[in-house]
């Protein structure tokens, strides 16, 4: 029974679908041409994974595999599957902006939240081309959360902070497909640490801030990130509520205070952009 598979769909995100997994996952149609040709990439991936598994000399306890029972492993698989399941990618409706402003309280106008959403996202969606939240993987935090045990075996997943967007960061976050593939690799090593080490959605809130945003677990936070842009807005609202300086600046419509409180002292023209967007949405 130890080798048994869970019933039902167990989609993994990139290249992990096995033909005998017994799932209901959607799979891309084979490419036209010689029948066997389409199988070669899968075999190649299997070989590569096998080689990676052989070369990875991670202590079993550190990897969390030695004493993990099959039911725990299945639960982990289910948790991982949820992360990669399709997300609701809907835009924020006017009613959802209203509800978020009410949740924030203090008479903070809807126009200000709309301004934040616009400036923080740069006018882009909180979801990438694959229909999953926009993320950026920050390996220096994964390294801290996993106590450096993957430094040698996975140097592109676990590395010290040298500067913002160093070579590993650029490699991991080249585009959203790469960022999610990186997350998948990190998830296989340590689920919670991987989710906590990414920034999520249109407000780029770090996963380690899940509790500050008002969620019990990082998986709950990720579920919110996948519940449309409205879910991402609510997480941001939760984060602001936990940041008294930023909240006070929002109440006073102190744009500089908002810029410093949320983004730090080198905020550039963030205050002016927020103010401009605020006025565009009817703020006074």
């Amino acid at each position: 029974m130890a080798q048994s598979k869970l019933p039902g769909p167990l989609c993994r995100f990139l290249g992990a679908l096995e033909i005998d997994a017994g799932t209901l996952c959607r799979q891309a149609s084979p490419l036209p041409g010689v029948v066997n040709h389409a199988h070669q990439p899968t075999q190649h991936r299997r070989r590569k994974r096998h080689q990676q598994a052989k070369s990875a000399k991670v202590p079993a306890r550190a990897a969390g595999t030695s004493k993990t029972s099959s039911s725990e492993a299945a639960a982990q698989q289910l948790k991982a599957a949820k992360v990669f399941a399709p997300a609701a990618t809907s835009k924020i409706s006017p009613a959802e902006f209203e509800a978020a402003a009410q949740q924030l309280g203090g008479g903070i106008p809807v126009a200000l939240l709309r301004a934040f959403a616009e400036v923080e996202s740069g006018g882009k969606s909180g979801f990438g081309p694959m229909g999953l939240p926009v993320i950026a993987y920050e390996g220096h935090w994964f390294r801290k959360f996993t106590h450096k045990v993957y430094d040698v075996t996975h140097p592109f997943l676990s590395y010290p902070y040298v500067k913002k967007a160093g070579p590993e960061w650029v490699h991991n976050n080249k585009d959203q497909v790469t960022a999610w593939k990186t997350l998948e690799e990190a998830l296989a090593l340590n689920h919670d640490a991987a989710l906590k080490s990414c920034s999520w959605g249109m407000f780029q809130v770090m996963g380690f801030n899940y509790a500050s945003c008002g969620y019990k677990t990082v998986d709950d936070f990720v579920a919110a990130m996948k519940a449309g842009e409205a879910g991402q807005l609510l997480a941001f609202v939760g984060f602001c509520k936990a940041n008294p300086a930023c909240l006070e600046a929002m109440r006073k419509k102190d744009f500089k205070g908002m810029a410093i409180g949320y983004n730090g002292p080198d905020y550039g023209d963030y205050d002016k952009r927020i103010e401009k967007a605020y006025k565009k949405y009817g703020g006074t």
């Binding site: 801290k144 959360f145 920034s199 730090g264 002292p265």
Partner: protein
């Protein structure tokens, strides 16, 4: 079976006595008295011969809209663990503990520095632990206060300026000769080493709380 058991107890006692007599060998978890000057994952740290520690921390995160956590610190080695004050717009106090190759900065309100809640995770009891990337001979960090502070290749000003720093730049002092200071300025691409007038810079003084 009693005799071997007694022998084991005796050996254990002897081992304990040896440990008490000579002390435990140093491990990476054992704090050192003074931290080593150098760069620690965004924290530039200088240590003066009298034990005064000055530091400048900067980490950033995000694309497009960048979130930045930046603060200065001073610490005194008069007590162990070292007491530290960090400040940006407000000052917060805590402790700084040095280990073999890392530092643990424990300041309960560290994330209240502007931008730091977005960049740094909540403390899970260890404090902010930072690994040393390289050692340096920095004895003090200072901030440029002149609008333009010319840098020279030689202690003698007549050697001509090889660029200048601007107000707010942080420099690390390596040596002092009268009113002149040999400093390192870590730029975006490389570190510049040059001589500056001491009067163009100011020491770190935390704001009164």
């Amino acid at each position: 079976m009693a005799a071997p058991r007694l022998a084991l107890v005796g050996m254990a006692r002897a081992a304990c006595a040896w440990v008490l007599a000579v002390g435990l060998p140093a491990t990476s978890a054992e704090p050192e008295k003074l931290p080593v000057a150098g760069m620690y994952e965004g924290l530039m740290l200088a240590v003066a011969p009298d034990g005064r520690v000055t530091g400048s921390f900067q980490q950033a995160q995000g694309e497009g809209v960048v979130k930045q956590c930046r603060f200065l610190l001073v610490a005194s080695s008069a007590m162990q663990p070292m007491s530290v004050v960090t400040w940006s717009t407000q000052a917060f106090s805590g402790t700084l503990v040095a280990h073999a190759n890392e530092l643990a900065l424990k300041v309960s309100r560290l994330r209240e520095h502007p931008g730091c809640a977005s960049v740094l995770p909540p403390d899970e009891g260890q404090g902010l632990v930072l690994d040393r990337q390289f050692e340096a001979q920095w004895i003090e960090l200072r901030r440029v206060q002149a609008e333009r502070a010319p840098m020279q290749a030689d202690v003698d000003k007549s050697s001509g300026a090889r660029g200048y720093l601007v107000r707010g730049d942080i420099v690390a002092v390596l040596a002092v000769r009268g009113q002149r200071m040999l400093v390192d300025y870590p730029g975006a691409k490389r570190t510049v080493r040059a001589w500056l007038d001491a009067s163009d810079t100011e020491g770190f003084v935390p704001p009164s709380r």
